[in-house]
Symmetry: C2
Subunit: 586 residues, 2 copies
Amino acid sequence: MVPTDGSMVRPISRGLTLRAFIIWCILLPFIGISSGAKTRHFKWEVEYMYWSPDCIEHVVMGINGQFPGPTIRAKAGDTIVVELTNKLSTEGVVIHWHGIRQLGTPWADGTAFISQCAINSGETFHYRFKVDRAGTYFYHGHLGMQRSAGLYGSLIVDVAEGEKEPFHYDGEFNLLLSDWWHKSVHEQEVGLSSIPFRWIGEPQSLLINGRGQYNCSLAAQYSNTTSSQCKLRGNEQCAPQILHVRPNKTYRLRVASSTALASLNLAIGNHKMVVVEADGNYLQPFAVNDLDIYSGESYSVLITTDQDPSKNYWLSLGVRGRLPATPPALTILNYQPISASKFPTSPPPVTPRWNDYDHSKKFSKSIFALMGSPKPPKSYDRRITLLNTQNKIDGFTKWAINNVSLALPPTPYLGSIKYGLRNAFDQKSPPENFPNSYDVMKPPINPNSTTGSGVYMFGLNTTVDVILQNANALSDNVSEIHPWHLHGHDFWVLGYGEGKFSAKDEKKLNFKNPPLRNTAVIFPYGWTALRYVADNPGVWAFHCHIEPHLHMGMGVVFAEGVHHVKSIPNEALSCGLTAKFLNKKG
Amino acid sequence: MVPTDGSMVRPISRGLTLRAFIIWCILLPFIGISSGAKTRHFKWEVEYMYWSPDCIEHVVMGINGQFPGPTIRAKAGDTIVVELTNKLSTEGVVIHWHGIRQLGTPWADGTAFISQCAINSGETFHYRFKVDRAGTYFYHGHLGMQRSAGLYGSLIVDVAEGEKEPFHYDGEFNLLLSDWWHKSVHEQEVGLSSIPFRWIGEPQSLLINGRGQYNCSLAAQYSNTTSSQCKLRGNEQCAPQILHVRPNKTYRLRVASSTALASLNLAIGNHKMVVVEADGNYLQPFAVNDLDIYSGESYSVLITTDQDPSKNYWLSLGVRGRLPATPPALTILNYQPISASKFPTSPPPVTPRWNDYDHSKKFSKSIFALMGSPKPPKSYDRRITLLNTQNKIDGFTKWAINNVSLALPPTPYLGSIKYGLRNAFDQKSPPENFPNSYDVMKPPINPNSTTGSGVYMFGLNTTVDVILQNANALSDNVSEIHPWHLHGHDFWVLGYGEGKFSAKDEKKLNFKNPPLRNTAVIFPYGWTALRYVADNPGVWAFHCHIEPHLHMGMGVVFAEGVHHVKSIPNEALSCGLTAKFLNKKG
């Protein structure tokens, strides 16, 4: 695999001579100084608090009294240390650093039951990892549905000192997108695990940087909505964060979606957006009027403030892919020096029709890697096909992959695989395909499926192809969007297609300039083809990033080269069978 | 100390000769058979579920799909094994066996951060303990406010095979009392830890065996209430459990209170109750028209069905000690063969006025041990006085004992004391008294207090006197009832008094026939004097049994002879510093 990150460290162990290694070691301190790499320490406490994200007060999960959590800002090459104390009364907690590949630190990936034990109430865990590559990232809880409860924040990595982005901008804004329910996450979880099944429903609000308006509309005066015009002074927790710009400049908007459910579309009145980055990877720039963004994705877009400078403009965010029951989130692009409280002259941009999948597919298929980006290996060593189905298990509604619904074991895989604890999870490898006769266009003939905790084991440096195959859900004529997110890696998105993936689709795959991503969507009744190199020793979740879907079993676990993983901190292993093993081992 | 349990095992190690010991060893198997002692195994799973305890659906914490949890029924001398699996998604869990002294098994007491690590999500813990003495007990969660969430059930211990209770009855009923809020416990907890402080308020309903009626009244037709008459078929989750009796019989009512807050009063129309047991100890029988019962207490009362057999009668349960905002819980005493649906001819008994403390004190002071019960040692080795105050810490509202508000450390004391881990908690012993100048009749002059995790350490077999001293809360003219519950022991209740305990009160203490209890109330502006022998190696919580008060720091920790504790199971220690210690120790 061609390294995608330009880091100095990884190639060393591969092919350099001893002489080069010694020189490198001598130079290392100087490189360190010249690159300005820093270790950045953060001390965080997670706890519940009352908050009004959408002007209605509810309980949210906050960090250091903030919602969303504090933004981490670092430079490529920096080391981040987060000393995380769990101040929750009864719950465990972990934090996943979404998009950070955790090269060499798989135990810091922050996935409960996979990379570490949940941090117990009252205890402190030390996340320590390198942000090796500039980009727009975020972090979030990865235990139960704590992300839905509000446990998320931004992680922005700038280029290293002396480096430059391959595009110019005069200023930037950071927009972390999310969706919000008034029913507590605890109750949502119970509903999902009840008979009869109780779906969480559509979100009450969409939030931009944790701010939305439920009981009023910023743009009521333009529409025939029943909502009243918001009367906000600006200092409320739910007041929109205004984007103050100056005319004739270029701004970078960093946009990341931490939604629990909603696929989103973002548009700015009168302004085109040039898409330049996705999930920490540079793209071949392309212009759009509106941006589709699925949960788990991030983008950077450039906007030029070349419109009438006597006006302000709407930024609007709406729901895609599900019949929307949620009003758009809005904020204002304010052309200074005019007042931010001057209303735009036109109504906010309207989101494309929720089921206009052609629009979505057109957007996804416009995404290519920036010229000169790493290319995928020409062939794969192993290909697995993952059929996405909705199923029933003992009367419970679940999602399953190749007929197995993921049930995470109490002992995290990283430790149990490393120490060969064979009782910790299903030792049988899960299926790599599904029966050829399966009709993806119809509800399953036999909806019953089973739970499992098996792992797909890959030899280190295996080139893996994953074909994500969508299908009909339990109800007739329903096939949903699922954004799949891979931990510990980026993958090349080789292509999207309709119906069942077959040999003839092979030829349509893009090996020339496929984008590197960590999240890729499967469209209803379609497939998505991914390729990645299993070159990062560890155990990695690969799952639908829709929070309730993951909770219902929609994920798989990949492992590679775990015996190469060194020095897992004990604090990551102090539960279940690894705790017992360490006791015996001493 | 005179053993209170009549067990065969404990005296052996004290004073018997070797010869007697050998004889005893030979006889042991036969004693075992003749006593019929059994090991009773239970396999439980704790999870949230939808339930309608008061006809309104909410989320409750259930065991094996039941609310309240399954009733454990055993005989004195039996061993109980509960294999408890935590099926909660993000929360830990423990279960405390309220009233069981855990002689020799302090690690099975089920107090998170004190006797064991919380059982992590997905994991199983094995409680194994002996129920050495007949009585009416219950069990409940002891982490965060999980008891309030519905994690409780009954534990009834009958006399050993061939033994007899010191009173006769023809049948029995078991009534587990609780209170219920519509606001989730998660949100209640956040409110208690918020600035400004948000009190949980009065319960929406009182429950008898998990059953109450919020939106209707069983007795609407008798009163000028605005509630409508309940229309229940009897198979609803909220339908009252009818007490079916036959005329001219004697019935034992076992009554235990697991309320989060409410002090209760129970009465049965036209029927006197003879109180015969409290907290697993026999009482000198006395008759009452109504029974006060505080959270953490249990009683057995005998009723004789000597009333007009052509009628049914109300059993009514109301709130005491706080201005009530909760309707009474009701059920029917049904004289068979007449129909249970025949309404009593009179309205339900009315609870005494909430602040008629004279009534409450008269009841408490009528409780004496059954003649022949173990008597307290004549003098104490050490006396500590515990001042109960409401305080402020960094703007948060707390309860404190001698100006220290209990903040439990992440590493359970039992392990950290046993292994000498001095960083695990405050090594300084908490204060044993309060300044003489403190005016218990007025709000604190300086309301600020501190949190602490210190432990009162007692030498094994020390006779300890505890003077619980009530005081004025933060507001003028407010002093609340607090039922204090001791783990691992019973104590003798030597007396109750008004104002500040002083030398002159000493003479009024009852050393002749004080009742043995595990829970004793302090009345507003009063004191309660207790004596117990610290003869049970372990670490034991002593706390106000009002769930939000404990959550706000109203408790202390007692430890005695921890170095005598043998073979703490690793599963009780696999967190915090004990996990680290065991890793190193191997």
